[in-house]
Symmetry: C2
């Protein structure tokens, strides 16, 4: 069953292949990334998305640079990798994992000694694969820990896509579902479509169906009624950022879902790797809210659905205060309240 879990990036015999997520679910298109521009464009155009997956793509971007390089010396190649690395980072400047992955490789290149450009190529290749492998393991561990919370649960509700195709494999919020499915326990997933960009409809529903997991698509407005009527045993979502006190920034709509879960006495779980925590930020109040283009709301698929000149509020994410969160699942275990103390302990 594990084989049916979609991986968004493949590396075989030096060829990088990605799933073009902009074409989902109507077309399943895999694209080879041959040049550094291919990698840049695929990130910029959201063919590859999800913080961990973007980081992995960036790392493979450096491999592509190494392989295509005409540099004659190690020094020349390292210099080129630095420059092209910055170029890759600029494809999505706010993607923390992208910068992290590229800087990690560039840093390691600087502190190692290489005799030939081919040694550099080999090193970058193995480092990129390592980043991918580590993320897969991280997600797997999240699945393993998270599965313990879902043992008696039949139906789960999720928001947006924190799934396999946002990571190396397994995802974060969806990883426990995959983990349990692989062990013969079928959980039915209710997927919020997640306006404005419809990641739930386009991505979550698709990847779960591909893996043979039962999924029911709903509009975001139905979440409350589904909780009242459909025996939802848990809500599980991913996170963009988690602050020192356990507040969670995630896709807009997460906060509403958390309140609805509380009202229905349904546990609300956040699944995220340790890299999502930013303990330098005290609480969610200190996170600036990014507002995106109004056209994301007024247009769908190139067609206009609201009046010209209408005022729109379009925050990209919201902040769910820690009081609504039953537990946070990481690759290291499960964090429960009180969060400030327990997050600190978790990182020790």
């Amino acid at each position: 069953m594990d084989n049916n879990i979609i991986t968004p990036i493949k590396f075989n015999n030096g060829i990088i292949t990605i799933l073009d997520q902009t074409k989902l679910p109507n077309e399943i298109v895999y694209v080879d990334l041959v040049t550094v521009e291919d990698v840049y464009d695929s990130i910029k155009e959201l063919k590859i998305r999800g913080a961990p997956a973007i980081g992995i793509a960036g790392a493979y971007g450096l491999f592509v640079v190494s392989r295509n390089s005409k540099a004659l010396t190690v020094k020349e190649l390292l210099n080129e990798l630095k420059i092209k690395g910055d170029y890759l980072i600029s494809s999505r400047p706010t993607a923390v994992n992208l910068e992290w992955a590229i800087k990690r490789i560039v840093h390691k290149l600087n502190i190692n000694i290489f005799s030939t450009t081919n040694e550099v190529l080999e090193f970058v290749s193995s480092e990129a694969q390592l980043i991918q492998k580590e993320d897969e393991q991280t997600c797997y561990k999240i699945g393993e820990f998270g599965s313990k919370l879902l043992e008696n649960v039949k139906n789960v509700l999720t928001h947006c896509n924190a799934g396999s195709i946002a990571t190396a494999k397994y995802g974060t919020a969806l990883s426990p579902i995959y983990y349990l499915n692989d062990r013969g326990k079928n959980i039915h997933v209710y997927a919020d479509e997640t306006r404005p960009l419809l990641q739930g409809a386009r991505l979550t529903a698709w990847e779960l169906m591909k893996a043979g997991i039962e999924v029911t698509l709903i509009t975001d407005s139905m979440a409350g009624f589904v909780m009242a009527k459909k025996n939802i045993g848990a809500v599980i979502v991913g996170a963009d950022r988690i602050t020192a006190n356990g507040d969670v920034a995630n896709k807009i709509g997460t906060y509403s879902v958390a309140i609805l879960a509380k009202e229905h006495k349904i546990p609300f779980y956040v699944a995220a790797p340790l890299s999502t925590f930013d303990v330098s930020i005290d609480s969610g109040d200190d996170i600036p809210i990014e507002e995106r283009a109004k056209e994301e709301v007024t247009f769908i698929g190139g067609r206009q659905y609201a009046p010209d000149d209408v005022d729109v509020y379009n925050p990209a994410f919201d902040v769910t205060p820690n009081e609504y969160i039953t537990a946070i699942i990481t690759e290291k275990g499960i964090i429960t309240p009180s969060y400030r103390a327990n997050i600190k302990k978790h990182f020790e």
Copy 2:
């Protein structure tokens, strides 16, 4: 200012003109209804929508039948009106007001005595105009009573379209906003776009802008965050049906909004005419939930956004239990808890 409030149906010199709501907000198209088939189609194709507005259109449909009739005797004409009335009802069999309006006129025709077909025509004309006028007055009174609840409110959130274009004029949920705006008090409205059919984006935002009322469009998923951040003083929605205990069936998503309002300690108001109450039904548990086509969720504007064969749950409305409702506003006054007793009193 009142003049800028959109009326969806106009009757001037025997000509019935409707606003084609399927073309909003991109095109503002008014259509004359000349034949009974025009009326039937305009209801069936949702050019005219909203329970009260459909009832009014049906009544004018009988006027069209009378005017176009080739009947030579009163008896012949009354018979034709009965048959064509049933035909009009079949355009939207679940629209309670449509059946109510047509049966009201047919019943009055049966208990009155007419000498000529022209007398019948005059009678139907004045009855249809009366139904329209009564609805306008009902909505106006809802606005007047509702305005008292919004006196200290700066920002209101609403769901779907319970506005002027769903009624003769003024609407239900939006009527207090219009009432206050007409008296120089400007309330800012946050309008949920209301998936799947986007009535908030297409209709509510449009009619409020036309009337010069400040409106901000949001996706349904943003309602919770907007309540937390935007100083929302009240939520106000319409209703499809209200049961004897004060449970409210309304557009899917209303229940979620009611819970979010409760969590933010924001009053949650329902505005509806007395005709919306069905006290023969004890509680919301007894209301069957109509499920609509999955394509409403998976397709937007003819384009597919979810996988083929995905399972979809698409309830047309949900039930908000009375405990979430701060007050119900009717043309007769304001009903507060406990609802079972006070609704009974309200109808005495």
